[in-house]
Each structure stands twice: as C-alpha cells, then as structure tokens.
Point group: C2
Chain length 281, copies 2
DNA sequence: CGAAGCGTTGAGTCCGCTCAACTAGCGTGG
DNA sequence: CCACGCTAGTTGAGCGGACTCAACGCTTCG
C-alpha cells in the first residue's frame, strides 16, 4: 500500500532526503536563473522583462530543513523560489506552528515584509531547493534602482493575494476529505505549472504540515487519505499521491456543503454574475 | 439585552440604515481626501507622498448594499476606502457566498486583480461609505504615470498579505468563541485605527457575514455572543458590542488549543525566536 | 540497539452543524 | 389600521464529524 508509485518522475528521491546528498536531479535545471526565467515563473507579462537588469541572478541553494528567513527577522532580501518547495509558517503566542502556505517555483518570499520591514512568516526548505535573490532591500539608496522590479513584485503580490483568497474560500466551510481533495488538486496544479505531472504528486511535506495548513488534526488527514484511497480515487504512498480519478475528485471538490436548498444567503446580482461567468477551475 | 449601548459614538445611526438619508456624521470628515490622507491611511511612510501627484482625489460615495466592484469584472480602478466598511466576498461554484474580509479606511480594493486583470472578490458597502479613486488602470499608457504609486500599492499589498496570514493563523485551529473573540479584538483594533473607540465596537455587518468570515454557522456566532455576554466579557447589542473585560478577552484569544503539553510540533529555533521577540498584540 | 519521528488505526468524547421554532423590526399592501 | 411577509437574531434538540488520547508498525539516526 505504501509502495512507491512506479514511473514517478521523482521516485528515486522519495523518502526523507539526506543532508549529505549534494543536489537532486530536478534541481539541475535551476542551478542558475536569468531575469527572463524570473519573469516567466512569476506569470508576469514578458514586456516587463525588458526594463529589468539583465544577467544571471545570485542563487542560494537550500538543504532540507534549512531556514531561509525567520519570522520577525529584519527584511533584507526578496527571494524567488526557483526549485523545490518551502514551508511557510508562523509560531503563535502559545508556541504552536501554523503553516500558512507552501512556496514553489515562482513564489516570492518576503513580500509581506515590505510593510513592516520584518518577515511575518518563516520559510524553511522541505527538500533540496534553490532560490534566487531578487532584490536586496537593506539599503534605501538602492530603492531607485529597484524601480524596474515594481511591476514584477506587484504582480507577485496580487497573485499571492488571490491564492490566499482561494485558500480562505476553500478551507473555511468544508469537510476534512473535501479539504484534502482540494489541497491535492490545487497542489497538483501548482506542481504541473513547474513542469511535473498534475496526476502523480510528490508531497514534500509531511502529514502534520498538511494538517496544520488545512486546520485539521494530522490523524484526520491520514484518515482522509485512506478513505479516499479505499474509494479508489487516490493511490497513496508515504510521499506520493496519484490521482486515480481526477474527474470524481474535481466533482467532489466542487460539491460542498450539500446542495444549496434555497436562495438564502445568495446575492441575486452575484448569483447571476456567477452564472454568467464561467468559474476558473 | 438588545438595547443600544448608551453613549456610543455611532448610536444614533444604529439599526438598518435607510437609503434616503444622505450622509452620516462620521462621513463628513471624509467627504474629500488628499494624497496625504491616502498615504497616511495606508500606513506608508510620508516620504512617498512627496513623489505623488498632489491635489484632491476623485471620490465616490456608496449607499449601503451598493456594489463597488463585482467578482470577475474587468479591473479598471484601484480604490482606497476612506470611510465606512465594505464586505469582500466571493461566490463559490455551488452559489454560496464566502466572506473573505472587511475593508475599512486605508484598505485598497482591487490589488488582487492586478495579476489577472479581473477582480477576484466582490466588494459591497455595508453602510454609507466613501472611497477615493487611486489609480485608473484601464489604459496601459498611463502606467508610466503610475510609477509614483508603486510604493504605496506595494505597501498596501504587503499589509493585506500580512492581514491574511494573521486571519489564516487565527481562524484555523480555534473554537468558535475564541474565533469570535479574536475577530472582535481585531476589528476593534482596526476601528481604533480610524479614530473610534476600540472598546465600543459598531459592527456594520450582520451575524451571517461574521459567520461566513469565521467559517462558522451563524447560530454558532450568536451562541458565542450570548455565552461571552453571560460570562460578563461582552455587552452585546444588535449592531454594537462593548468589550467589558478586554484583558480577559485578550487572554482568551491567546490561550488556544489548551496548553502546549510538550515540544511536539515546535521548532526550537522558531520557539526561541518567538520567545525573544515580543509578538505584536 | 534504543530513541525519536512519521504514519496509521481504534475508541470515546465533545463541539459545532442542522433543523426547527420563536421573537422582533421593518416595509408592503389590502 | 392591521395582516402579512421578509429578514435578522436567538434559543433548543439531536446528531454527526472531528478532535483527543492511545497504541502500534515502520524507518531513520545516534
């Protein structure tokens, strides 16, 4: 049951990575990255790349469990993830960790710190990862130089805000299985955006991280996995998940809260708008 | 029990506002706003105001239930709220409304649309409100003119991201009463930032909106209100809440999930950091 | 080998949702 | 004028799902 899925692209790397192994196969294509890469990964229009300073960016490679930035630390750099996956989290006043997201290729780390000047979330690598140094923020005199970065940063911030809204919408009112399904589908989309399969997922985080992110107990996440596996919708390994029946999964992810019995709680205008405009999957 | 709190600043306006009444007392100080106001409300440093175009900004007044922007609508304007409160929400695929936030003075509406070019949340006024038109986004040729706005927008986006992180942290793993308490404290802070009392809150949204925002049933929110009222921590009116015992409330908001029994789930480094740096209340 | 962490599974409890009924305020229209 | 409908808010009864606690297998690491 827990056997690794054969043919998975990342299968030779499955399992807890060792600190000693230098780099992983899928890191090789991100050993260096240019400004064009950054703009492309961000999803921004290529036009903004023209105004940006060219040349390769400084890179930083991260071993698993390496902390890139600390919560409450002074903002000095903005990073963009070029490979691997990082866990974003905060420590609440009672000492517990709350996972707030997972950063993958194209995610900018440090955007939330622009306001206060301090990072508000810690970022730690879940696997071998590499980030490129987008902007050095320490010296105010360079702020003029950064002018070309504004569109890119603003775009990244907008995308991040959109992601948060989506997260907020999908997590608040759903059962545990549905949250897990949505998480998997969404994570598959993001993984697909970096060139991997969107059906054979490699989960670099453990169950506890998923549970914290979804606001569930880790036992509940585990139970949801086995339940969905028994239903024939998933095939679950320790660090791999294959989406056996994506159609049913998507249907499950959309059908929540039972059926809307009446129009209570619906805005007529909003409802008509929702009916007219096809929702992005 | 449901009597209005005497002496509340907004008490003469309590109840469902009528469409016919022209403007409310607390709107008068925001009939017009300058770029200095905008920069100040945003919390940005005053230095950026110097580079901005001066002169009064175009304003738009909103009656209750007026929709400022529609989800999926083409981005054409960025607004900043100058008075009143707007509800931000999306309609999910099953037609239900999910409240994603409440915009008050200083909130920029439309930031999340910069990426895709379409608003991702609808914004509707919960009371008489006024917004100023920050940037017209429709014509790309003006993008150069908007250069001075970048720092302001980036700052606002960062603050919004921070707010979302906070929301995400505080909502995921807590009981209903604690969520309500946190919501009230946070809302009081934001209300205090606009010049009102942080102990006598006026809630422009109804219970259902709060419930949707917190991911609860509206009956549960109602029960939490009465419970906290019976405990002597709150005094609850229909649209008013007075925080009788802020100290206990804050204590309640912080003490969640019981006590951390062991160091399970704790990062030592992060824990020490959390211990060293005083958390923002 | 023992210790520690991850993942899974089971048993029991409790919190929050669902459904329902009731009150109060407001607007409409006979 | 009052009846009526609608919405918001509150309260109760019952149930189900998720958490808590516990135990166990497995792997990794010192």
């Amino acid at each position: 049951m827990n056997s690794l899925l054969p043919g998975h692209r990342a299968s030779p790397e499955v399992g807890v990575p060792r600190q000693g192994i230098p780099c992983r196969t899928h890191c090789s294509d991100a050993a260096r990255c240019s400004m064009d890469d950054v703009v492309r990964w961000s999803g921004c229009s290529a036009a903004v790349a023209l105004a940006m300073p060219q040349g390769p960016l400084a890179m930083r490679h991260l071993r698993p469990t390496t902390t890139l930035v600390h919560e409450h630390q002074r903002l000095d750099q903005l990073y963009m993830v070029s490979s691997g996956c990082l866990k974003l989290f905060t420590i609440d006043s009672s000492g517990f960790e709350q996972v707030t997201g997972f950063a993958m290729r194209g995610s900018v780390i440090g955007l939330d710190a622009i306001g206060t000047g301090c990072y508000t979330t810690s970022a730690v690598a879940l696997e071998d990862a590499s980030v490129c140094l987008l902007v050095r923020w320490s010296t105010p005199r360079e702020q003029s130089m950064e002018g070309a970065f504004w569109p890119l940063l603003q775009f990244a911030a907008a995308r991040e805000l959109q992601l948060r809204t989506e997260t907020q919408c999908q997590m608040a009112p759903a059962s545990a299985e549905i949250r897990v399904v949505r998480f998997l589908l969404h994570f598959g989309q993001r993984q697909a955006a970096t060139g991997y399969s969107d059906r054979r997922l490699r989960l670099p985080m453990n169950r506890r991280d998923i549970a914290s992110y979804l606001g569930l107990a880790h036992e509940t996440v585990s139970r949801a996995f086995t339940l969905l596996s028994r239903e024939g919708l998933l095939e679950v390994g320790l660090r791999d998940v294959e989406l056996i029946d994506p159609v049913s999964l998507r249907h499950l992810a959309h059908s929540t809260r039972g059926v809307p019995r009446s129009s209570a709680g619906l805005h007529e205008e909003a409802r008509s708008a929702a009916g007219a405009v096809p929702l992005a999957a």
